[in-house]
């Protein structure tokens, strides 16, 4: 069959909500788009281990320590599910890591913000995971089979993450004055970056067109962002915390909250590498990778020696 015919058939399958599997025909651009999006999603899970991983040794109770350790472990696992799905597109884990290190692949900008206090563990679980869940629930219906299946698996595991975060920040919001101040401060710092997780307005997003046409993306950035805000506002009110947006107001007509404008300068600056922790996150990943080289080599050497076992 000629390429044009294959592309027509491919689009028909997409339009009919069929899943595309690794051995199916797919246009090069579809494959490239997926590699970029999925690898960045996987990198995000892995980089996300850092701000939270930092606080495990300082977790203020055994229960908190256990839960945080389990959460960060889950994140590693989610990274692995998505790397695994990405590799079905014909790219290796080595190549994916290389691209991350060279700055050719990105990860969610939210992790370029620092986790300054224990309250941030609450804010991250509640808001960052909350935003991720909103996005991932939508992605369960993505057209690429392996990606969709990894999203289903992740969604099953993710809800405990958000509950964990909310529990942490709720306890603080109802605690001592210092704890409450810490909780409000964390919300102040993480609210807007969490909204930025959904990306630019659809009108300002060049890749949205193809992503929607190929059903890689099922709902627009703005729709998902609105859904997250509508879910979250009452959660803050319930524990007596104030969302740092003076323009936040219920709109009866829309049945949704109106909210203030995101600082797009900050958004683009951080995306392009100008966030407080960009360098730290990447250097940490590179260092761990470098420090681990001798271990990987040893494992490979041993396997080679005993390959007939």
């Amino acid at each position: 069959m000629v390429v044009e015919e294959l592309e027509v058939l491919f689009q028909e399958r997409i339009d009919a909500n069929e899943k595309i599997e690794p051995r199916d025909y797919m246009p090069d651009e579809y494959r490239e788009h997926l590699i970029r999006q999925m690898s960045q999603h996987a990198h995000s899970e892995v980089i996300g281990m850092q701000p939270e991983g930092n606080w495990i040794t300082r977790a203020p109770s055994l229960r908190a320590k256990k839960i945080l350790l389990a959460k960060v472990q889950d994140e590693a696992g989610h990274g692995l599910y998505i790397y695994s799905a990405t590799e079905t597109l014909g790219i290796t884990r080595d190549e994916l890591i290389e691209k991350l290190h060279q700055g050719k692949a990105k990860y969610a900008s939210i992790f370029n913000y620092p986790a300054l206090t224990w309250a941030d563990m609450g804010a991250i679980g509640w808001l960052v995971d909350g935003a991720a869940i909103t996005n991932q629930v939508s992605l369960q219906k993505t057209s690429y089979g392996p990606y969709s299946r990894s999203m289903v698996k992740i969604c099953k595991e993710e809800s405990f993450h958000q509950r964990q975060g909310y529990e942490v920040i709720a306890a603080m919001a109802k605690g001592t004055p210092e704890q409450k101040e810490m909780a409000q401060d964390a919300l102040n710092r993480f609210w807007w970056p969490s909204l930025m997780m959904f990306g630019p307005h659809d009108s300002a997003s060049p890749r949205t067109g193809n992503a929607m046409k190929w059903k890689i993306k099922r709902e627009s950035n703005d729709v998902l962002r609105q859904r997250f805000i509508d879910k979250t506002v009452s959660q803050a009110a319930l524990i007596g915390l104030t969302i740092p947006d003076s323009d936040l107001k219920w709109n009866e007509e829309r049945g949704s909250y109106d909210f203030g404008e995101i600082d797009w300068d900050e958004f683009w600056s951080v995306v392009k590498g100008g966030g407080p922790c960009n360098l730290k996150r990447l250097n940490h990943h590179k260092k761990a990778h470098k420090d681990g080289a001798w271990v990987r080599k040893a494992a490979a050497a041993y396997a080679k020696k005993y390959s007939n076992k």
Partner: protein
């Protein structure tokens, strides 16, 4: 001096990779078929089993597990009527696909 040369040679011989790719199949309950769960990287089969266990059975999802080197799997799509089996075509992509097993199948 000689020791350094030996070490350098050895280090350039031992490669730094992410190991091999292994596909993981899980049986969630005795009697049910094994289902493809995903893949893991590992350098040998003992490690592959452990890595697969750590990644895919953390929440008690497994009663049985198979781990197979990805390149040992032969993948074919029988609905492709132009060539049911073309040796040049069986690994077009690095990673093969798997048939979906019918849900709710019991005691096969």
């Amino acid at each position: 001096m000689l020791k350094n040369i030996q070490i350098n040679n050895e280090m350039s011989e031992s490669k730094d990779t992410q190991g091999e790719l292994w596909e993981v199949f899980l049986q969630t309950k005795k009697g049910l078929p094994f289902k493809h769960a995903g893949s893991v990287h590992a350098y040998d089969k003992e490690m592959a089993i452990q890595n697969a266990r750590d990644l895919y059975t953390r929440r008690g999802e497994g009663r049985g597990m198979w781990v197979v080197p990805a390149n040992a799997i032969v993948a074919v799509d029988p609905s492709d009527d132009s060539s049911f089996f073309d040796p040049a075509d069986d690994k077009v992509y690095r990673h093969p696909t798997f048939y979906e097993l019918p849900e709710g199948i019991k005691n096969m």
